[in-house]
Symmetry: C2
Subunit: 366 residues, 2 copies
């Protein structure tokens, strides 16, 4: 079996090895500070008694699950604390495929490339529904594509790579479609704290036995490397997901869970608002410069990404590497996100140098 | 699909909920101190710049892989840093089954129950080779059981639950058998620092394209909750294992990797020897008391466990729960480890109260 491994790490390594300074806009790694309480949580943990260094409950520390449950308005029993949203999505997709209700995973085009990779690994087949130019998904298109073969519909809102935020009506329709064809809507909401539009609607708002929500603090707390996320399952699907989690990972890292719990409790809304405002400023700076360069682009409603298109410069891996070497800006090839964005490049606004990056792009494509 | 979830967490919860003081000898959670350098590593990490909180390389921090590679005498490219030995074994077993060279996983009886659980989850089938009373595995029995259908042979040395340590000759034969039937020997060596016999032989000593070694610092550094382990794959099998790791977990927790790297570098042999000596003392104390109680038992050559048999008290879950309630000692039911040990109970020597526990058992069975 050959999996398609997402290209992120490859492009980052290429950029690191480049013989010049490169502005890194490849991966969704925030460059801002984690909450102080998260750092303090790690310090506190370091001083705990030996028993606190041992296995936490497999499904996650009870206090952490309760904290998440209260915030999300669900029963703690339905939550599995995972090794980031990555494992949460893996568990959700595996659970959907194991229901013996089809082996098709319905994805969007463009798509976050881990989803098709996980699908292949889990023995499922991918089908794609195209979004519009702005990244919005028409539920009628999803309904037309869904069938008895559909095991899951996987969406990501706010969206990577398009920056789209799906309105509440779309989320309601997606859950309804999952119910109609006996599939599971998997809503990956890891960018929920970076909704710039005020339009974000969590799938948790629609009660259903056909809906799983995945999330993590990786983006909201700027700690992609700590690896603490979670999935909220319907009551009928959670037991088997917990078993898979136990059999794959035994448990999620305890120092990370401890620090995240402290950070959830002690971090006020100003932390998150500051990060959103920084992102808004960067979007404006970057897109202004793209305007000046005459490039086409999407202005994100949420998440970290701007997709841009430069005339005669398709979004291939080769062109991304050339841009690293010749312009000193590292993005992601649009082709990594699906057939509909092969002309595009994706830039993550996770560097203080967005203005300089935009200027380099403008000079290069001038 | 219904997985068989290992019972450990269930028994621990039962013991926690008991209406009396209970000596916990259920799980392999060391009660001794982690290395000071590991604690210090977490403190150091807490003060690092934001970029150090982001995704490490998917296969693990380069410096950690190099540190492990040097210690184990292998190329760093063959190492995947995992979420504990649990994920390492999952990756190894998945890799073996994907080779399209059989779907049988050959296990020992008694067995560490995560192995059959993982096998079912991965769509494989279990076969068992019985060990002798001391837990030793006769390679001729393995050879007789192995066939073209065998994808992997999974062993654990030093062994949980028997305490057996396989001699070098057994390891050589097991690798040879894997080569003969085009299978993979997976050697889980997570208790390697608790060899009390001096006889431990790592499968890494035998160079082969049919051998994967898994390990972790969970036991050696008394940090089962930190979740840092690794697998060493043959060159031809490593790429796909790295892909699966990326698609399941993206990466292993970075604060944990950082702290473990520091602890590997700065912890001297006295730390490990002190823990072995404590274990030797506890084995002696516990088995002396079992002798006095007239119980049958195995004295471990390695790992944390003593298997004991009390006349007319088979090792069922029901009897384990009765022992918790009536004697105040929590062990694991032998039936959890396979058909051959249904008469036995397993006690983990990870409490300072082993003498008190043995006395309680002696009184209860008097």
């Amino acid at each position: 079996m050959n999996y398609e491994t997402p290209l992120f790490f490859h492009v980052m390594e290429y950029a690191d090895a480049a013989d010049r300074d490169v502005i890194d806009m490849v991966s969704g790694n925030p460059d801002w500070q984690p909450p102080d309480a998260l750092r303090e949580g790690l310090r506190e943990y370091a001083d705990l008694e030996p028993d606190r260094f041992q296995y936490p409950p497999s499904e996650g520390l009870l206090e952490l699950r309760e904290e998440i449950a209260t915030r999300r308005g669900v029963d703690a029993d339905r939550i599995v604390v995972t090794n980031g949203a990555g494992e949460a999505n893996y568990l959700a997709m595996a659970r959907a495929l194991e229901r013996d209700s089809g082996d098709e995973i319905l994805l969007t085009d463009p798509v976050y490339p881990y989803y098709p990779g996980k699908t292949t690994m889990l023995g499922g087949t991918q089908s794609y529904v195209a979004t519009d130019e702005a990244g919005q998904l028409d539920p009628d298109d999803v309904r037309a594509a869904a069938s008895a073969e559909t095991a899951a519909i996987v969406v990501n809102t706010p969206n990577n790579p398009t920056g789209a935020v799906y309105p509440a009506e779309t989320m309601r329709e997606l859950v309804a479609i999952a119910e109609e064809v006996d599939a599971v809507l998997i809503s990956d909401e890891v960018y929920d704290h970076y909704d710039l539009s005020g339009e974000f609607a969590s799938a948790l708002e629609i009660d259903s036995d056909h809906r799983v929500v995945t999330n993590a603090v990786s983006k909201s707390m700027a700690v992609t490397g700590v690896r603490v996320g979670y999935a909220v399952f319907p009551p009928g699907l959670v037991a088997n997901a917990k078993s898979r989690h136990m059999l794959v990972n035994v448990a999620t890292t305890r120092p990370g869970q401890y620090a995240v719990l402290k950070a959830l409790r002690e971090t006020g809304p100003d932390y998150y608002e500051r990060n959103r405002q920084r992102l808004r400023d960067r979007v404006e700076t970057f897109t202004d410069a793209l305007d000046a360069a005459g490039a086409e682009y999407t202005s994100p409603s949420g998440s970290f990404y701007v997709m841009a298109r430069f005339d005669g410069y398709p979004g291939t891996l080769e062109n991304v590497e050339r841009l690293i070497d010749e312009a000193g800006v590292a993005g992601m090839p649009g082709e990594a996100f699906g057939d509909s964005r092969t002309e595009w490049l994706r830039f993550a606004l996770v560097t203080p140098c967005v203005e300089e990056a935009a200027e380099r792009l403008a000079r290069y494509f001038d």
